[in-house]
């Protein structure tokens, strides 16, 4: 699959949740070529600060209209600059990159989707693709477990509930829905409602993905987890985006996968989770200075 550079134009930028923006971009070639779960590298600003491009998922892809949508959270310099960009601003995109989600082969059986915070971004396009190609699968058999730190960080209800899928919401601070981590919400609900998904999709912080991976491995459910890493090039040249992977043929030697070219979607079994050191919570406040 070939990748390319495209000059995109901001059509609309809207704050849709706390520190969370939805950007609609005119990018005809990208919209034509991209699949759900892929990503692109965005140059937030010309100049030297921020220097590197930033990776973002395709939140929605509208090939017919020549548009794509990006959902992003302001966490640092790059995303802060992006949030200041007005309509008509031009942004350079490099993509589409990565492997993307596979739709389930067994079209009739239920699927579970776990989204943590801004991890909802690529899962929205996935949900639309599932709905479009679902065969005998009822919309309500698409179970979305969607959590964030606090109520203000969740996308508004109508955005997802209107699709007719089963949505379960939760917040770490209990300000909306289930009081606790989304992985606990998922574990509990799946047990109580006897949800036996044929595939488990997830996107969110690594600490969350670890718990999703454990569930998937325990229950022998195939999983597709969209993972993150810090990236410089996005195209497999810098080798910066490594994650510890299960070594081939059971070897115990260090072995790494590269999120930009081997992923960003991985099965739970392909990562050596115990070798990833994460520090859990993101910064409590965002300082721009």
């Amino acid at each position: 699959m070939s990748k390319f550079l495209e000059e995109a134009l901001i059509l609309e930028q809207r704050e849709v949740a706390q520190q969370t923006y939805r950007l609609r971009l005119r990018a005809g070639r990208m919209a034509e070529a991209a699949c759900a779960g892929q990503f692109f590298m965005l140059q937030v600003r010309e100049g030297m600060d921020p220097l590197l491009r930033r990776p973002f998922s395709f939140h929605r892809i509208h090939p017919g209209e020549g548009n794509i949508e990006v959902l992003y959270r302001v966490v640092g310099r790059g995303t802060w600059w992006l949030s200041r960009c007005a309509p008509q601003t031009r942004l350079n995109l490099l993509g589409p990159l990565g492997n993307g989600f596979q739709l389930p082969r067994n079209a009739g059986s239920p699927v579970a989707i776990v989204a943590g915070g801004i991890g909802i971004a690529p899962l929205c396009e996935l949900i639309h693709r599932l709905l479009a190609s679902r065969g005998t699968l009822e919309a309500r058999d698409i179970h979305l477990f969607y959590g964030a730190r606090s109520a203000g960080e969740l996308l508004p209800e109508s955005d997802l509930e209107d699709l007719g899928i089963s949505v379960y919401r939760g917040t770490d601070d209990g300000s909306l829905g289930y009081d606790g981590f989304v992985t606990d919400l998922f574990r509990k609900t799946a047990e109580e409602k006897h949800i036996k998904p044929s595939v488990l999709y997830a996107c969110g912080p690594l600490a969350m993905q670890y718990h999703v991976a454990r569930w998937a491995l325990e229950h022998r459910v195939p999983s597709q987890l969209s993972l993150e890493s810090l990236m410089a090039c996005g195209i497999g040249a810098c080798l910066g985006c490594a994650l510890p992977a299960s070594a081939p043929a059971g070897s115990t030697a260090d072995h790494y996968v590269h999120v930009c070219k081997d992923g960003p979607i991985f099965g739970a079994e392909s990562i050596q989770w115990h070798k990833i050191q994460t520090h859990g919570a993101p910064p409590p406040i965002f300082l721009y200075s």
Binding site: F4, L51, L52, S229, A232, C238, G240, C241, A242
Partner: protein, 330 residues
């Protein structure tokens, strides 16, 4: 954009002679920032490049360092990749043919833990079609054994170059580290031991920390700084090296525009390598070449060789022209 009238006429000759090596132009891509070339083929006609310096190769494959391996800093980035590479066998079988088939001159960046490993690598690459030179990496800050120590001690640097020199007839480039007090000494040692050329600089030893987690931002704690932030250091190092030795020097460090590249050539570097800038603009080298050609036309120079090393070392106050003839003032 309207064409500058001075900019018309015959295309200037961009080819350069680097010791035993002749290149169609002085713009190469730096090791570790261009993969094995294939990664960039969607964005750039690789045959436009003076040469491709591939990711550092060792005898056995290396997995590299644990993540996080990189972090962005002001106008730069720090990496601690740890020389992850496929090893020389896979390189020769499945990476080199791609570049060779496209007739791109390939410079192989080599790295070993011991003198013997350097020598064996050089021997394995000797006479392989498509490879035009070896770049000896004695300067990587990200590996525990070997690496840095070879590049910071003149005697050790000389022994590595000597070992490689005995094992190959290929032109040799020794890549220097800026993380020393006197880069000229290392340069002299490398050339004394048979290096045909020098390249400088590798990344600058650096560190980044997180005030919230109160931890280093790289698993390796230290890494190597690259990008626009290091250009002034790279220019100083290149200048010092040019003062110390009489051999072709390749300038590296923070080059992102034609102006940046021309600054190194002005000092006397006969070629440049572009690194981190490839990550941001995959076709940046093509733009640099276009800018360089335009500059030479505007300057009415027929070749880049006429421009190389023409620095006037006397620095004047920026408004000197206005100040002239004001001697009658008190």
């Amino acid at each position: 954009m309207a064409q500058n009238p001075d900019a018309r006429g015959a295309a200037p000759d961009l080819s350069v002679q680097l010791g035993p090596l002749r290149l169609r132009n002085p713009v190469m891509v730096a090791s570790g920032t261009f993969g094995y070339g294939e990664e960039y083929a969607d964005f750039l006609d690789l045959t436009q490049l003076g040469a491709v310096v591939v990711k550092g190769i060792s005898l056995a494959p290396r997995p590299g360092n644990p993540p996080p391996r990189l972090v962005e800093t002001a106008a730069g980035m720090i990496n601690a990749i740890g020389l992850e590479n496929v090893g020389v066998d896979v390189f020769l079988e499945s990476k080199l043919p791609y570049l060779r088939d496209r007739h791109v001159p390939v410079i192989v960046n080599i790295f070993g833990n011991t003198l013997e490993e350097y020598a064996e690598l050089a021997a394995r690459l000797d006479g392989v079609p498509g490879i035009v030179a070896l770049e000896i990496n004695i300067s990587c800050p990200n590996v525990k054994s070997g690496g840095m120590i070879f590049g910071t001690d003149p005697a050790m640097a000389a022994r590595v170059v000597d070992a490689v020199r005995r094992s190959t007839t290929l032109p040799l480039i020794t890549k220097l580290t800026p993380n020393v007090t006197h880069i000229g000494e290392i340069a002299r040692a490398a050339v004394g031991a048979g290096s045909d050329m020098l390249s400088c600089i590798n990344t600058v030893a650096a560190m980044a920390v997180d005030i919230f987690t109160r931890r280093p931002k790289l698993a390796n704690i230290f890494g190597g700084l690259s990008g626009p932030a290091v250009k002034p250091i790279a220019l100083r190092c290149t200048y010092e090296v040019l003062q110390a030795v009489d051999c072709p020097v390749i300038g590296i460090g923070g080059i992102a525009t034609a102006t940046d590249a021309l600054e190194f050539l002005l000092l006397g570097a006969r070629a440049v390598q572009v690194g981190t800038a490839n990550f941001i603009q995959p076709a940046v080298t093509a733009e640099i070449l276009r800018g360089m050609e335009l500059f030479l036309r505007v300057q009415k120079l027929q070749s880049v060789e006429e421009y190389i090393g023409t620095l006037d070392r006397q620095c004047l106050f920026p408004f000197a022209e206005i100040a002239c003839g004001m001697t009658d003032l008190p």
